[in-house]
């Protein structure tokens, strides 16, 4: 274990941002800290970096207590969301900052800077000052600076936030390889669930209450701990409908639009309990009229979404349902459509607590590795 946080408490004046947060990260692992703004992700990174100090709790890096250890002695690299480049230094000097701190020879520094610049494709702008760099180049320079010192721990604070969509996509594909090559332990902060799923070996989902769930992308997506987490992952957002499951001869079922929908047999005692059913839009599919147990849907509108087509429809009771399907596949654009539910992708949540009700007799896809 490279990095461990135990019971971290941090308040600014009376505003408690972190209240007993614990987290451990394995060597060489990329852990994504995911959550909405204001959850304290950035504060957590700064505590690890040592630029602010916790009110309570301990931070250990490589088994060493970091209490009183200055930021420059922690062996970390960090990329900031706002880049935080040194405006009076050119890109070379920026990238070289971690190297000049260690009395490296000039030629060794030049060599390292050039190697990293080549890797990040910024060798042509090395003599530019930050204000002469495009946003994408700034972002890469900041990343290069964080990597240059070959730190044991790399803290990346939403580094793709301020770059355009195309570049963000490119970097998302490039980053994992880059990070693995560095062999560093990475903590990556983001608000974008796609980035979290694409980059994380594990994801820690954080909200105002602290870390709510930690797991592989599969675990988080396929077995979210509660409604809030289910809503944070996936676009379009998961469909959530109030239901009360009933026990029938044919097994446990819920009723949607008057149509009975069987659910997994593993739910023992949920009959009669106020629940919310969560169905991901891609777990719904359009079927022909007359298909058994198909649910009729009044189609409101169709909106394309990144190679998917999202249909917004109303059930008989006026509840909204979103259905997502690969672009180019058939589906109704107006009028009435009929949908069938893939029962293995149905989640049941307790309406009172919002927590997911875990079926006992079913193996979820948790054993599958990360993407």
């Amino acid at each position: 274990m490279t990095l461990a946080l135990e019971n971290i408490v941090k308040a600014f004046k009376k505003d408690v941002v972190l209240d007993g947060v614990s987290l451990s990260v394995d060597s060489g692992e990329t852990l994504v800290l995911f959550g909405p703004s204001g959850a304290g992700k950035t504060v957590l990174l700064r505590l690890i970096a040592g630029v602010i100090e916790p009110d309570e709790g301990t931070i250990t890096i490589q088994g060493r207590d970091m209490d009183g250890v200055e930021p420059e002695d922690r062996g970390i690299g960090m990329a900031f969301q706002n880049f935080a480049l040194f405006p009076h230094m050119d890109a070379t000097q920026n990238i070289a900052a971690p190297l000049t701190a260690r009395n490296m020879s000039k030629s060794a520094i030049t060599e390292t800077v050039n190697r990293i610049a080549r890797m990040l494709k910024i060798e042509h702008v090395l003599h530019h000052k930050p204000k002469e760099l495009s946003n994408g180049q700034k972002q890469r320079t900041a990343l290069a600076r964080a990597l240059a010192g070959e730190p044991d721990i790399l803290l990346l604070d939403d580094p793709l936030r301020n770059v355009d969509a195309k570049l963000r996509f490119e970097m998302r594909l490039e980053l994992p390889r880059l990070l693995k090559d560095q062999n560093a332990t990475v903590i990556y902060v983001t608000q974008d669930y796609k980035e979290a799923m694409a980059l994380g070996d594990r994801i820690a989902v954080m909200n105002a209450h602290g870390i709510e769930q930690t797991g592989t992308p599969s675990e988080i997506y396929l077995a979210p701990a509660n409604i809030e987490i289910a809503r944070l992952f996936g676009d379009p957002v998961i469909n959530l409908l109030d239901v009360i499951p009933e026990q029938t001869e044919g097994g446990m079922r819920i009723t949607l639009s008057g149509v009975p929908v069987p659910i997994d047999g593993g739910y023992g005692e949920v009959a009669g309990r106020a629940c919310i059913v969560g169905i991901r839009p891609e777990a719904l599919r359009f079927v022909a009229e007359g298909t058994a147990d198909a649910i009729p849907l009044t189609i409101e509108t169709e909106t394309p979404l990144n190679e998917k087509t999202v249909t917004l429809g109303l059930t008989k009771n006026g509840r909204e349902i979103m259905v997502s399907r690969p672009a180019g596949t058939p589906g109704p654009a107006e009028g009435t459509g009929f949908i069938a539910i893939d029962a293995t992708h149905v989640h049941l949540f307790d309406r009172a607590t919002g927590n997911r009700i875990v079926p006992t007799e079913r193996h979820t896809a948790r054993s599958q590795g990360a993407a």
Binding site: V51, P87, T100, A101, K129
Partner: protein, 285 residues
């Protein structure tokens, strides 16, 4: 929307010219006066046509003040040197003390930091006369009266709050993340202060130094009371132009020109540096 008619442009030009004339005229007049004898200055009506003379400047530089009736020795060049020395040294001392203090006030939030910073600023509010009498007595007892050291010390009352408050603002404008980034890269805080904070606050420090220099240069009351003839700056030394036989307007004008020359040159030199401003473009996306 932003198109202006030619008429508007002409009118605007005239207005600007008038304003400039209004403010620049006294300076222009003083320049003219410095090249005239008292006689031509005082003639009625005044004329901008006259035979220029360098006698005022010659008098100041040689130290011989020649009036209509007599010749008087004055130490204008000595005063000028005193002004230069006192102001420069005061600002230098002020920077050495004030810049690190400003950094501390900007970056470290310690108990009472706001109160201390405000107390320092409040020195600027109090009328100097209030402290002058006790100060004079102290200085005499301490042997600081009529020394450069004593004057420079008192001048800190003028210089230090100014530097502290201006420079503090500039330090606060530097995003802390930039300094954090340098620390995390492996540099000590002292190196970070020198390599990041100081260069980035450079224009601010220059502006504060310039302003402090002007304030120190223009000081009159402290020097009047605490310094005798050989330590007096030009502001006090200029009193010598009011002689028994009349006010020497020509020499005063020449003295003014000579004494504003250093600050003027400094301002001109620093202007381009000041205007450059903070280039923190890298921080904002």
């Amino acid at each position: 929307m932003n198109t202006t008619s030619p008429l508007e442009r002409v009118l605007r030009g005239i207005a600007i010219t008038l304003v400039i004339l209004f403010f620049m005229f006294p300076i222009f007049w003083i320049v003219l006066m410095s090249f005239q004898t008292n006689a031509t200055i005082l003639q009625v009506p005044p004329s901008i046509f006259f035979e220029p003379t360098l006698q005022n400047y010659r008098g100041l530089i040689t130290g011989q003040l020649v009036t209509d009736t007599s010749s008087l020795e004055i130490k204008f060049m000595g005063n000028l040197f005193n002004s230069l020395f006192l102001s420069t040294t005061s600002v230098a001392v002020g920077l050495v003390l004030g810049v690190p203090a400003a950094y501390a006030f900007a970056r470290l939030k310690f108990r009472g930091s706001e109160d201390i910073a405000f107390t320092l600023l409040s020195f600027r509010f109090a009328p100097p006369l209030l402290v002058l009498l006790p100060l004079t007595i102290y200085f005499q007892q301490l042997g600081l009266a009529n020394t450069y050291g004593g004057l420079i010390w008192v001048y800190q009352l003028i210089v230090l709050p100014l530097i502290l408050w201006i420079v503090r603002g500039y330090f606060e404008d530097i995003p802390a993340d930039i300094e954090y980034a340098y620390r995390i890269a492996g540099h000590r805080w002292w190196t970070t202060f020198r390599k990041i904070a100081l260069p980035l606050a450079g224009p601010g420090i220059a502006a504060a130094a310039l302003l402090a220099f002007i304030f120190a240069w223009n000081n009159f009351i402290f020097a009047l009371v605490l310094a005798s003839a050989d330590k007096q700056p030009v502001t006090v030394g200029a009193l010598a132009f009011i002689t028994a036989s009349g006010v020497q307007y020509g020499q005063i004008a020449a003295g003014i020109i000579l004494s504003i020359a250093p600050t003027f040159a400094l301002a001109l030199y620093a202007q381009r540096y000041l205007v450059e401003g903070l280039s923190l473009g890298a921080v904002k996306g």
